[in-house]
Symmetry: C2
């Protein structure tokens, strides 16, 4: 049996691998929309399989580590955090697929307006995914906190996209279906940001022992 | 130290308690919309606290059981499933809060149309939450499978609500903000159904040892 530390490192390496697949899926789901590239969209759908298989592998690895070893309290927390983070990453992959589905629908209809806010929102969200996983693997609380701050920016962007598109719909009812799809893309991005925020919160709990979920901690 | 079985039962009892709070939150978030009752909506917001605290308690209980005992493979699977289910329940509580926020916004504007599909969708979703948890606690695979079937019905209802509201918006742009809020309510309900589906899938994995996530199993 390999050393526990080594297996833990493999687990974290797999989570990072899954994270970079998810990040790439988000990036290309929005790029496919901007460039109207159905080929790129289809590629995101094909890559989804790898993310799903990684989820199963990581779960099995975590449970094996829980079973074969008798981990100390700190390692237990790490393993249960890994199980939660794994679920968050897989949901993000699903959300990238949801974005791609909207992107494909939008490609076949006239554009509502030039893309500015949605690519910017995607950029922020991708960076939140990367930072939240880096914070977890390197146990860097400051990096985790920066993810929590970005979540507020994402919410602002989503509101601004929402309001702008509502006014487009009111001016020209012909664009309603497209504008609705764009509103949903912004919502999916926001949900991905929420999952990155969960990872950052789990990391803070792991590193600092403070539970920042539900604002149970007075100052974060 | 209490017997392991007893502590496992407490853990499952807490999950059931959380499930019934979540079910009630969903029910009242939609009833507040139908009856335009701001008082009922505020009550859902107040109850959210209890759900959040239960999440933290259940997590701690599961990690303590992992740490203090040396659980067998089957109990390990149960404990890791409990950790995942806990997360799903907490997200459902968040989604009920999202619905309530839309309900409050909608109360102050003229109605788009009489409510038929949304209460029906809420009814189906509440029953999915209850069945998925019952299936988990009683280890009943048939009940878990019935939740997976209901998820298809929920998707159909969401599409029909979406399409109907789009046509209302196109006929009368004045209703766009309200119709959009109703589309979001249907989306939130659909996401709650997705979480119930996750619980049912985790239950099937636990009971039958088959992984129905990502359709890795040929026949379910």
């Amino acid at each position: 049996m390999r050393h526990f530390i080594e297996e833990l490192e493999e687990l974290q390496g797999r989570l990072l691998e899954m994270g970079s697949l998810v990040e790439s899926a988000i990036h290309h789901s929005v790029l496919a929309l901007v460039e109207r590239s159905e080929e790129m969209a289809r590629q995101v759908l094909r890559n989804e399989d790898r993310i799903n298989h990684l989820e199963v592998e990581i779960d099995e690895l975590a449970v094996r580590l829980l079973a074969l070893q008798q981990p100390m309290a700190k390692d237990l927390r790490l393993l249960t955090a890994a199980i939660k983070i794994n679920t968050d990453l897989e949901r993000m992959g699903d959300l990238a697929v949801n974005i791609v589905e909207r992107s494909i629908a939008l490609m076949h209809r006239p554009p509502v307006k030039p893309f500015i806010d949605i690519p910017q929102m995607a950029h922020t969200v991708e960076s939140m995914v990367r930072k939240s996983l880096d914070a977890f693997v390197k146990r860097e609380p400051e990096l985790a906190r920066s993810v929590l701050l970005s979540d507020d920016e994402v919410d602002r962007l989503r509101d601004s996209i929402h309001n702008e598109l509502v006014s487009f719909m009111q001016k020209d009812p012909a664009v309603i279906p497209q504008a609705l799809d764009l509103i949903l893309v912004a919502r999916h991005l926001e949900r991905i940001a929420d999952h990155a925020t969960n990872i950052a919160e789990d990391t803070l709990f792991l590193v600092k022992g403070v539970d920042v979920r539900h604002h149970l901690e007075p100052n974060i």
